[in-house]
C-alpha cells in the first residue's frame, strides 16, 4: 500500500472527486494560483480551471453563503476556510442556514456541501489562529462533523463528505498535514459516524480525534513496552458520534481517559464522559478523566504555547494516575 502524507491524501481525493462528478467544485481564499495556504489544492487550478477551482475575496460569510445557495441548486461545493478561526465570520451561514435549510423547509432541499478547514495550535500562530472550534459545529443538529487523524481516513472521510447530501464540516489539523501513512489505492469511502479502534488494548481506553488521536496511539505504543495495554478509540466523526464503539471499549477496559486539543469546559471530553456514564457506568472502575488544553487564549511564545497544549506527557501522567487509582500496579 502506498505511503503518502495527509496533505497528499486530501489533494488526491479532491482531484478524484472533481474528476468523478462535474457538480463538485472548490471555492475559497487562495486555493487557485496560490494552491491553498497549506497547499492542499496544489495543481488543481491547472487541471480543472478557475470556474471549478474558484478563488474568492476575503469574504467568508459571502462565499460560504454562496456555496450554500449553489448547493441548494444541485451543485456540490467544497469550500476551504483557511483556518477554522475564520469560520466564525461565516457562522450565521453555517449554523442558521446550511444546518437548517433541509429540516426547517420540511425536507425539500438538501444542502450537499463540505467545508474543509484546519484547526489546532502548536504552530505559534497565536490566540486567534490556533483554536479548536469544531465542538461549536458538533453541537448543531443538521451539520455533520468529521475529523480524520490519518491519511487513510482523510481520503475515506473526504470522499464520503463530498458524496454526502448534508452539510459536512471537515476538520483538518495544521500539525497533521505532513504526517504519513498507508493509504489504499482506488476508491475508499469511510462511513461518517463510525469511530475506529486505532489501537487495540485491554487495560484502559483513550478516546481522541484528529491530532490527539495520533498522540494517543504513540503514547499507547510506548506504554505497551511497560506492559500497559491501552486501547485507543479514534472518534473520526464528532457528529454523528459513535457512542456505541466508545461504550463497548470502556466496558472491556473499565477505565477511560479523553484526550482533546480543545479547552476542557463544555468540550468533546465532557460529551464522551457523559456518554460513558450513560452507557458503561456499571463497568467503570474509576471516574472518566479528561486531558485538554489550558483554558487560556493560546499564547504565542513557544514555552507558553507548549505548556498550554496537552501532550503525550500529560496523557501518560493521567493514564498512570488512573491505573494507580484502580489498583492496576499491585
Amino acid at each position: 500500500m502506498p505511503v503518502i502524507t495527509y496533505r497528499q491524501a486530501l489533494n488526491d481525493t479532491l482531484r478524484a472527486e472533481l474528476t468523478r462528478d462535474e457538480n463538485v467544485f472548490l471555492i475559497g481564499e487562495e486555493i487557485g494560483q496560490f494552491e491553498g495556504s497549506y497547499k492542499i489544492t496544489a495543481g488543481l487550478l491547472d487541471e480543472f480551471g478557475p470556474t471549478r477551482v474558484r478563488d474568492t475575496p476575503i469574504a467568508e460569510e459571502g462565499f460560504v453563503g454562496a456555496a450554500i445557495g449553489a448547493a441548494m441548486m444541485g451543485l456540490r461545493p467544497v469550500a476551504e476556510i483557511m483556518t477554522i478561526n475564520f469560520s466564525l465570520i461565516a457562522m450565521d451561514q453555517i449554523v442558521n442556514h446550511a444546518a437548517k435549510i433541509y429540516g426547517m423547509f420540511g425536507g425539500q432541499t438538501p444542502v450537499p456541501m463540505v467545508i474543509r478547514t484546519p484547526g489546532g495550535g502548536g504552530q505559534q500562530l497565536g490566540a486567534t489562529h490556533s483554536q479548536n472550534l469544531e465542538v461549536w459545529y458538533a453541537h448543531v443538529p443538521g451539520l455533520k462533523v468529521v475529523a480524520p487523524s490519518t491519511p487513510a481516513d482523510a481520503k475515506g472521510l473526504l470522499t464520503a463528505a463530498i458524496r454526502d447530501d448534508d452539510p459536512v464540516i471537515f476538520l483538518e489539523n495544521l500539525s497533521l498535514y505532513n504526517t504519513k501513512g498507508e493509504v489504499p489505492d482506488g476508491e475508499q469511502v469511510t462511513e461518517i459516524g463510525k469511530a475506529a479502534i486505532a489501537k487495540e488494548g485491554t487495560d484502559i481506553t483513550v478516546i481522541a480525534y484528529s491530532r490527539a488521536s495520533v498522540i494517543a496511539v504513540e503514547t499507547a505504543r510506548k506504554l505497551e513496552e511497560e506492559g500497559i495495554s491501552v486501547e485507543v478509540v479514534d472518534l473520526r466523526s464528532l457528529r454523528p458520534l459513535d457512542r456505541q464503539t466508545v461504550c463497548e471499549s470502556v466496558r472491556k477496559t473499565s477505565r477511560a481517559v479523553v484526550l482533546e486539543d480543545d479547552w476542557l469546559s463544555y468540550g468533546v471530553g465532557a460529551e464522551i464522559s457523559a456518554t460513558v456514564m450513560e452507557g458503561a457506568f456499571d463497568y467503570l472502575d474509576a471516574p472518566v478523566r479528561r486531558v485538554a488544553a489550558a483554558e487560556v487564549p493560546l499564547p504565542y511564545a513557544k514555552p507558553m504555547e507548549t505548556a498550554a497544549l496537552p501532550d503525550a506527557q500529560d496523557l501518560t501522567k493521567v493514564i498512570r494516575e488512573q491505573l494507580e487509582a484502580t489498583s492496576f500496579f499491585r
Binding site: A66, A70, M73, H97, F105
Partner: protein
C-alpha cells in the same frame, strides 16, 4: 426587454396585489386569535415591489426572501392555502409546520426561503446565481432585503462577489424606511442606498416602489442584464409598510400622519386609477377583482384552519437528508 403592458402585467399584477393585500390584512386578525404564534411580519403597502419583480421573472428563476416574505412567495406563485397553513404551523404548510412565517421554502418554485436572519438571503441568492452561471442556464436569482439589512456585512461581500463574477442576480432593497423601529435617518448617514451598489461596480437604480410599472420595468432591465451575462443589478425600491413591524408593534416610532401620507400613494389604488383611465378595467371589473381576492384568501384561510397540526413525532424527522439518528 419586456415592456410594461397595462393589459398584461398591469392587470395580472393588480390581481396579485389585491390578493396579497387581502392575505396580509388577515395577519393581525389571526395573530389576535392566537392562531399565528411567534412572530409574523406583514407587508401591506409594499405589494408593488414583490409583484413587479415577480412579473419580470421566468419559471427557471429563483428568489430568496426575508422575515417579511409572504408577498414574495405569493407573487412568485406559492399556493395561498399552503402558505397560510405554514404560517399557522399546520401539516399542509410547505414545510409541514416546521418553518412558520419566517421559514417558508418552496423548492418547486425556486423559493430559497423566507428567512429569519436579516440579510442572510443575500448570500443564498448569490449562490443560486453562481450555480446558474456554472450550470450554463439562463436562470437569474433575486434577493429581497430591507433598508435594515443594507447595514449587514453580507451585502457588501455579496455585491462584490456578484460584481467580480458577473453573477445573474438582482439585489432588490425594499426601503420601507424602518428597520423594525429604527428609522433610516437615524441609522444610515448616506441615505442614497444605491451608492452602495455603485461602490462595488454594480449598476444600481432608484425606483418608486409604490408603482407596479416602475418596479416591473427596473426588474425587467436587471433580469435582461443578468440573462445576457452582464452581471448583477441593485434596485432600491422606495416603499412603506402600513402595518407594524410585527403583530403587537406599538409603533411609537412613527405617527399616523406619516402613515396616511404614504397611504395616499397606495400602490393598488394608484394602479386601479391608471387601469381605469386606460380603459383596461371598469369599476365593476375592479369590484370583481377585489371579490376574487377575498374569496381566494378566505379559502386559503379555511384550508389552513382545517389543516391538522403535525404529529409530535414529526419533530425529529428530516434533520438530515437520509435520516441519521441525532
Amino acid at each position: 426587454m419586456q415592456e410594461f403592458d397595462q393589459r398584461r402585467q398591469g392587470l395580472s399584477g393588480l390581481k396579485t396585489m389585491a390578493m396579497i393585500r387581502a392575505f396580509e390584512s388577515r395577519m393581525p386578525v389571526l395573530s389576535e386569535e392566537r392562531l399565528i404564534r411567534g412572530s409574523t411580519h406583514p407587508s401591506a403597502g409594499m405589494e408593488a415591489v414583490a409583484t413587479g419583480v415577480s412579473l419580470a421573472l421566468g419559471p427557471q428563476d429563483s428568489i430568496a426572501s426575508n422575515h417579511r416574505g409572504h408577498a414574495h412567495c405569493l407573487a412568485r406563485g406559492s399556493d395561498p392555502g399552503r402558505t397560510m397553513a405554514e404560517i399557522l404551523g399546520r401539516r399542509d404548510g410547505y414545510g409541514g409546520g416546521k418553518g412558520g412565517s419566517m421559514h417558508i421554502g418552496v423548492a418547486e418554485l425556486g423559493i430559497l426561503g423566507t428567512n429569519g436572519i436579516v440579510g442572510a438571503g443575500i448570500g443564498l441568492a448569490t449562490g443560486a446565481a453562481l450555480a446558474a452561471q456554472m450550470q450554463g442556464s439562463d436562470a437569474v436569482s433575486v434577493v429581497y432585503f430591507g433598508d435594515g439589512a443594507a447595514n449587514q456585512g453580507v451585502l457588501a461581500e455579496a455585491l462584490n462577489l456578484a460584481a467580480i463574477w458577473k453573477l445573474p442576480v438582482l439585489f432588490v432593497c425594499e426601503n420601507n424606511h424602518y428597520a423594525q423601529s429604527a428609522s433610516i435617518e437615524e441609522m444610515i448617514a448616506q441615505p442614497d442606498l444605491k451608492q452602495r451598489g455603485l461602490a462595488y461596480g454594480v449598476p444600481s437604480v432608484d425606483v418608486d416602489g409604490m408603482s407596479l410599472g416602475d418596479t416591473f420595468t427596473a426588474a425587467a432591465e436587471g433580469v435582461e442584464r443578468a440573462r445576457s451575462g452582464s452581471g448583477p443589478t441593485l434596485i432600491i425600491a422606495d416603499t412603506y409598510r402600513y402595518l407594524g413591524h410585527m403583530a403587537g408593534d406599538t409603533e411609537i416610532y412613527r405617527n399616523q400622519v406619516e402613515v396616511e401620507q404614504w397611504q395616499a400613494k397606495d400602490p393598488i389604488a394608484r394602479l386601479v386609477s391608471q387601469l381605469l383611465e386606460a380603459g383596461v378595467i371598469t369599476t365593476s371589473d375592479w369590484e370583481d377583482i377585489q371579490e376574487e381576492a377575498s374569496r381566494v384568501v378566505q379559502e386559503a384561510e379555511e384550508f389552513a384552519r382545517n389543516s391538522p397540526f403535525p404529529d409530535a413525532s414529526d419533530a425529529t424527522q428530516d434533520v438530515y437528508s437520509k435520516g441519521v439518528p441525532a
